[in-house]
Every structure is written in structure tokens, then in C-alpha cells.
């Protein structure tokens, strides 16, 4: 039997390679729809990334690539509500983040849209979306930058970074093990983590509620007149860096840590033989603002900016 011609073998190899590459290449997706300027957009992804950007068109556009094992991208639009969902086959739903490849979605929405994003391991980035924004990931990082008035963000294992520029914004951030960074201009902020550190830097803080178990809490900014700020953790440090002309009343307690201030007030023992220390003092005329700081064994520092 004679050998097959070299050209035939070469053609077969090229055809096989082409087919393999085509089969392995991620499936590209593109969807568009005309929507209201204040459309509600819901997005769900498993692994990979979701990036949502605001633009000056009344249109939603999705572009991206589906990960291996993903069934399809569902895109539903009735003009007022848009749902974008990465659909995973039912057989892959046990720990799907480990069983499907990364899906990357780039989504454009009207600047005034409200968006809600949930992912398992996919990172979330939202920029220049000024309606309400809700972002939740199990293991991915979460990032927001823009002028939304209501911002909610959460992640169990990922870091969270918020940069809110709107005056009067309400920011609610909840982490577990990742770090939290919130930068704001003029806002009310609630930020909690269990073991991750929380850093909040402004700007004028209207209301503040900061909690952690073993993570550190750091606040740098102005305290608005009439503000109520609460800082509480178990054993991380708590540090406030505030202007020298701050007007506020402070009530600080640590059960076995220490209290240090750069305003001439130090912690004093609550009673003999007890490690508990407290410091109560008022800066300026108080301004109607109240700051409560409580930690079990952490160190509290109130520093002058």
C-alpha cells in the first residue's frame, strides 16, 4: 500500500487544527436593546468579570465572551427592566464557579440606570452609573466609581472599593474577609467587615456606622454637624484622623486596650483593678455631633489632621 500524498496529510492536519481552535475559542456574545433612561438592569455571572459603564444613550449593550461550559447568555429587555444572566447547565450547578470557565461581560447602560449585579467568583466593576447601585459577589472583588446616591456592595472573600462623588450619597458596604476602602465627598456610610480592614476616607461624613470583629477601622475626614458616628470592633485597631477644628462629643471605651488622642485627652481607668478604659470629651462646641467608639481589646487613636 502506497503512502498517502503529503499534501493530503498536511490538509488534514490544518483542518483538524482549525477545528480544534474554533471549538476551544470562547463564544463571543453581543446584545443590544433600547431602554428607558432610568432602566433597571440586573446582571448575574458565575466566574470571570462584569464591567458596567454608564453612557449618554438610552441603550443597553452587552459584549463579551462566554466561558467554557456556560450554556448561553440570557438577555431579556422590556424597555424598563433588563436582565442579563449567564446560564449554566443544570448538571454543572454544584459549585458552578469551579466547573465553568470565565465569562467576561462588558455592559453599557444609560448613566441614570439602576443596576444590580450578583456573581459567585466574578469580579464586579461599575463606573459612571448614577442610579442606585447594588453589587454582591461571593469571592470576587467589587469596585464602584461614580455619582450614585445609593450604593450597596458586598463580598465574602473579595476586596471592596468604593469611590462615591455625589453629595448626600448613602453607602452601605459589607465584607467578610476582604478589605474595604470607601472614598467619598459628602455621604453617610455604613461599612462592616469581619476579619478584613475597613478604611473610610472623605469628605464630610453625615452619618457613620463602622464595625468589624478582628479587622482594623480607619476613618479620615470631617464630621458633619449633628452627625452620629459609631465605631465598634473586637480586637482590631480603631483610628480617626480628623481636622483640628472638629466639633463633636466623643465617648470611647476599650475593655483591655488603650486610648490615645492628639487633642489632650487620654483614656482613664473606669475602676481600680479593671483594665477597662474610657475617655469622654468634647471638641469645640460639640456641634451636636456624637462619636461613639467601642472595642474589646483594640487600641483607639484619635489623631489631628
Amino acid at each position: 500500500m502506497s503512502n498517502p500524498p503529503i499534501k493530503v496529510i498536511a490538509c488534514l492536519l490544518v483542518a483538524t487544527a482549525t477545528a480544534t481552535v474554533a471549538f476551544a475559542a470562547p463564544q463571543q456574545v453581543r446584545e443590544t436593546g433600547i431602554v428607558a433612561a432610568d432602566v433597571d438592569v440586573e446582571v448575574y455571572n458565575v466566574a470571570g468579570s462584569v464591567r458596567i459603564s454608564g453612557w449618554d444613550r438610552n441603550e443597553v449593550r452587552v459584549e463579551g465572551s462566554l466561558g467554557e461550559g456556560v450554556e448561553r447568555l440570557a438577555f431579556e429587555n422590556d424597555g424598563d427592566d433588563v436582565e442579563i444572566r449567564v446560564v449554566v447547565p443544570r448538571r454543572r450547578r454544584r459549585d458552578p464557579a469551579r466547573q465553568v470557565g470565565d465569562t467576561h461581560l462588558e455592559i453599557m447602560v444609560p448613566r441614570g440606570a439602576s443596576v444590580s449585579v450578583e456573581t459567585l467568583a466574578a469580579t464586579i466593576t461599575v463606573v459612571d452609573v448614577d442610579g442606585s447601585v447594588s453589587m454582591e459577589s461571593s469571592a470576587g472583588s467589587v469596585t464602584y466609581r461614580g455619582a450614585a446616591m445609593d450604593i450597596e456592595a458586598g463580598s465574602a472573600a473579595g476586596d471592596i472599593e468604593i469611590n462615591a462623588t455625589a453629595a448626600g450619597a448613602s453607602i452601605d458596604v459589607e465584607g467578610v474577609a476582604g478589605s474595604i476602602m470607601v472614598q467619598f465627598t459628602d455621604a453617610s456610610v455604613r461599612a462592616s467587615s469581619l476579619t478584613g480592614g475597613v478604611r473610610v476616607i472623605g469628605g464630610r461624613l453625615r452619618e457613620g456606622d463602622f464595625e468589624s470583629v478582628s479587622g482594623s477601622l480607619y476613618f479620615e475626614g470631617e464630621i458633619a454637624a449633628g452627625a452620629e458616628l459609631d465605631f465598634e470592633n473586637f480586637n482590631g485597631s480603631i483610628e480617626l484622623l480628623i481636622p483640628g477644628d472638629t466639633a463633636a462629643s466623643f465617648d470611647i471605651t476599650t475593655y483591655s486596650g488603650t486610648i490615645e488622642t492628639e487633642f489632650g485627652f487620654e483614656g482613664r481607668s473606669v475602676e481600680a483593678y479593671s483594665p477597662e478604659q474610657e475617655a469622654e470629651f468634647t471638641l469645640g462646641d460639640g456641634g451636636g455631633a456624637e462619636v461613639s467608639v467601642e472595642t474589646f481589646s483594640g487600641t483607639v487613636r484619635v489623631r489631628r489632621r
Binding site: A139, E174, L194, F234, F296
Partner: protein
């Protein structure tokens, strides 16, 4: 009184904290509500069991940490926990294994044992906090119970935690192991914080800040488990 009394109200009734007039109102409501009667019966049995618990059980040597490490599902291990050593920075180490490979009966047995431990643990705390010298603690308002004592709040948390953990065990395979590890590590941190605050409360039982901190840590635990269960729903 036409409306069924709340669980907190029934707790107070069982604990004998209501005035005569209030108690009569609850009894009138009990006559009309089988569900309320069942709740009272449960609370009384819980109280009776907690009163039978000793102050402490001292084994010849501490076998439990080793047993727990090998047998108890990871998040549960954080509840039954090791002896308190405190939390300092990164001292908390992740568990060596995720979910042991157990059959249904073993899971059920461990689950039942775990629930018993949790109830017993909470009951013991209830009992300790209800000792004559500790009324001041019991009467301190807590964040979540709107002026009610720590005792019903702690029992309530124990029951809620039990339910949430059960859902977590039953669906553990749906969650990414790294996320399970994160949840487990954080549960252990919270449990150690709870232990430390409880120790401090033994030294200073009238300290409202410590009671509030204890409540807050229970809240953290419930919220973490709710988040874990939400992840399961997403999966």
C-alpha cells in the same frame, strides 16, 4: 387580648418576668392559641433542661478538640470550638480539610450531636446568666431584642444559627471550597470573640457594653451564615 403574644413575650412569661396583669393576659391568649401553648411548652422544657446542666464538666483530659477536628463538619467545628486562646491578628488558621466524606447517617448523627451541643451551650449560658447574682445582666437591654434581656436573645440566636447551619451542611457541595474556608475561618473568629466576651462577662456581669458586644457578635454570626446561605441560593 386577641392577638397571639410574641415569642419574646412568652419567654418573659416562662421566665416569670411579667406582672400579674401581664401574665393573666398571656394566659388568656394561651387558652385561645395552640401554637402559643406549644411554644410555652417548648420554652419550659428548654428551661428545665438548662437547669439540670452542671456548672462545668471537667473531663480527665480535653479530648474534644481532636475529635471535633476529625469528625465535625468544618463550620460546625467553629461552634463547638477549641479552648479559647484569644484572637491576635492572623493567629486564626484555616481548617485542614473541608467537608469530611461521611454518609447520610453520619451527617445526621453529627448534625444532631451538634445541635444538642449548641442548645446545651446556649442553655448553659442562659442558666449561668440567670444565676441570682446576674439579674443585672439579664435586665440589660440588647440591640436586637428591643429592651428584652440577653437570655431570650441568646436562645433565639442559638435557634436561628442552628437552622442556618443546617441549610449550610445540607448544601455544602454547592459552595466553592475557598468560600467555605473563608466562612469557616470567620466563624471561628466570631466564636472566639464570643468566648472572650463571655469570659469578661463572668468577671464583670453588670457591664452593659459587654452584653451589647456579645449580642453584636451573635449578630455577626447570623449575618455571616445568612450570607453563606445566600451564596448557596446563587449557586
Amino acid at each position: 387580648m386577641s392577638d397571639a403574644p410574641s415569642e419574646e413575650r412568652l419567654n418573659d412569661y416562662v421566665d416569670g418576668l411579667l406582672s400579674e396583669h401581664e401574665a393573666r393576659e398571656v394566659e388568656a391568649a394561651l387558652a385561645a392559641s395552640a401554637e402559643a401553648r406549644a411554644t410555652v411548652e417548648f420554652l419550659r422544657s428548654l428551661r428545665a433542661r438548662s437547669e439540670q446542666l452542671p456548672d462545668a464538666i471537667e473531663p480527665g483530659r480535653d479530648l474534644w478538640p481532636g475529635i471535633a477536628e476529625r469528625m465535625v463538619p468544618a463550620p460546625l467545628a467553629s461552634v463547638v470550638a477549641e479552648p479559647t486562646t484569644g484572637i491576635v491578628g492572623d493567629e486564626v488558621t484555616p481548617h485542614r480539610t473541608w467537608w469530611p466524606s461521611l454518609d447520610g447517617f453520619q451527617w445526621a448523627t453529627l448534625g444532631a450531636a451538634a445541635m444538642l451541643l449548641m442548645v446545651a451551650s446556649s442553655s448553659l449560658t442562659v442558666w449561668v446568666l440567670s444565676l441570682p447574682g446576674n439579674e443585672s445582666v439579664a435586665g440589660v437591654p440588647t440591640v436586637v431584642s428591643g429592651g428584652e434581656g440577653i437570655r431570650p436573645a441568646e436562645v433565639s440566636y442559638a435557634l436561628e444559627i442552628e437552622q442556618l447551619m443546617r441549610v449550610l451542611y445540607e448544601n455544602r457541595d454547592a459552595v466553592d471550597p475557598d468560600t467555605v474556608s473563608t466562612i469557616e475561618t470567620n466563624l471561628r473568629v466570631i466564636d472566639r470573640a464570643i468566648d472572650r466576651v463571655r469570659e469578661a462577662l463572668q468577671e464583670d456581669p453588670a457591664n452593659p457594653g459587654l452584653v451589647r458586644m456579645l449580642t453584636k457578635n451573635y449578630q455577626h454570626k447570623v449575618q455571616l451564615l445568612q450570607r453563606a446561605n445566600h451564596i448557596i441560593e446563587l449557586s
